[in-house]
């Protein structure tokens, strides 16, 4: 499975990458903001995206909205410090499939990824 990590913090991307590797995922692409992700997403064609909310140049919510205009199906998980209910609803409306609030444990990240993928596969 191909996974794209979109976060301006390299540390966070490394953490997510390590967790994904533990889960057996090795095809991983990284982007440091929404715009960077838009430029890579076509060629990489990910099966899952983990998106941070607050990023420079193009933030996560703008990226989700832009991406969803052309791609309705690829699952996305918002990984963010934005924990208010209104924010969660906003993200879900924009098109994310799941939501993780920082700080999170590696176990929680694993759980959310598995959960999302299971939902997607049972829906199809």
């Amino acid at each position: 499975m191909k996974i794209m990590l979109i976060d301006d913090s390299k540390t966070m991307r490394n953490i997510q990458k390590a967790v994904l590797k533990q889960l057996g995922h090795t095809e991983i692409e990284e982007a440091c903001d929404g715009q960077d992700a838009m430029s890579k997403v076509g060629a990489f064609a990910p099966d899952l995206l983990l998106v941070d909310w607050n990023m420079p140049i193009m933030d996560g919510i703008t990226f989700v909205r832009t991406f969803r205009k052309t791609n309705k199906t690829t699952p996305m998980i918002m990984v963010t410090t934005e924990s208010e209910k209104a924010r969660v609803i906003e993200a879900i409306k924009a098109g994310v499939n799941n939501y993780i609030v920082k700080p999170f444990t590696p176990d929680l990240l694993c759980q959310r990824i598995n959960e999302t993928m299971q939902k997607i596969s049972s829906a199809t």
Binding site: A18, K102, P103, F104
Partner: protein, 513 residues
Amino acid sequence: MNEDELRKLVTVQISSDHLLAELLIAPGVTHSELTEVFLQSILDERSIQTSIQSSTAIKEVIESHAENPDKPLKATVATGTPAVDGIDGGIELDEKVQAQLDQINHNKKDASEEDAETIDFYSQSSFVIVTKGQLLGRIIPPAPGTDGTDVCGKSIPAKPGRACPIALENCDLKQDQAIMAKSAGALSLTKTSLRIDAILEISKYVDFSTGNVDFPGSVTIQKGVRDNFIVKAGETIQVFGLVEAATLCAAKDVILSQGMAAKEKGSITTGRNLEAKYIDNVECQIQTNLCIQKEINNCNPTVAGEILSSTCRLIGGETRVAGTCELGQIGSDAGTPTFLHIGCHPELETLIEQAHSLYPLVLAQANHAQTELAQLTAAMGKLTPTQAERLTELQFELSEHQNRVNEVAKAVALLCELHQSKTHIELRVTKKIYPRVELCMNTVRVTFKESVPGPLCIQLRDNGKPEILDVASGNTQLLSEVASVATDPDLPDLKAIHQECLILDKNKQSEAA
């Protein structure tokens, strides 16, 4: 002078191989009589092929004669071309192989005094060892040669080179006539044959005449192995004579028809069994079984399999064995201190010790990360994005540490299980155990102060206490009744370590659940 008289004085001499024609002019011929036409006619009469060189030679003869008409004159006027014989076919060895052969031939000659100071004579091998698939050389076809021509223009046939039939054994001959080794082995070469021997048979001693031996297959030595020589084999080593203070190293078995007297300097390492009549003062690493007929004297064998030597005396030294140990007697009348550790696998025990020593370190790191995380979480109110990310980092670090703790516990438990599967505590003695024999099993150290007659069998009970069975009567008693039995805290308690790791693993699993 008339022409007949003149022809008697001017003659041509042709060499026996017909490659040289010389003009001989006796005294009495006048300069006017010696013309180019006349001399050419003389050569024509003898059917000598003339050339520009001949014409020049004729002119020079005439000039020389003019200077000294009264002296006899001899001059070469024609030469032939000798035939170049063909070259016989044969083997052209590969550079590497040839270099090895040259080195061996060089070694066989007496070394100069200068060499004697710098050369390691032990390492001068007298065998060409090749690897499987190695290029050995090439078969060279015979060359036909070039015909020659005699002074009369007749062809001199060249002798063609002869084909040399080469017998190849254990070699592949490729289309381009390249010879490749079919298997690894020792190269044996004659003018008409090339062979690779998968077994290296040494008909004499391994000494300065052979040098050290490092062979990929099996090695058979008809005589013995001298002090300080090394014999390494990719398979089995068999020695029919005495092995002195040498080093034997075989990936499979070492079989000594006699024995080894190593003078505390020799060693044996096997990938499988060691069989011998006796071994004396030898360091041994045996990966499977040790089978000695008569005596193990002052040796330090470590045996990963079993000791199956029911007629053998074990006297002195320190013996460690993983599996069952069968011996004739242990110790001696003279009370030689003899140490025997059964159910012992030093290689695995070292690994367990190393892995187990990591455990407190990784646990301390995990605890430290957990404390730090707890303190930070307590100190922070509503988290800023930076704080939230920092906390995620700490969570990740903690998780990594916990994983490490778990991995170490799992590794130690696995090693302990492997140790358990590879070891067995059982000592059978057919004749006697003498005083001053020390026996270790798990954490128990037994010291024999009195002789204990055989046949006997020593094992550990379920409660860890050693018992002794009198095989003749079938009676069993605690070993502590016939010898001093104590728990030695220096001996690793693998059972306890295993238990500790299993509990940790269980805890981790229940945490995860």
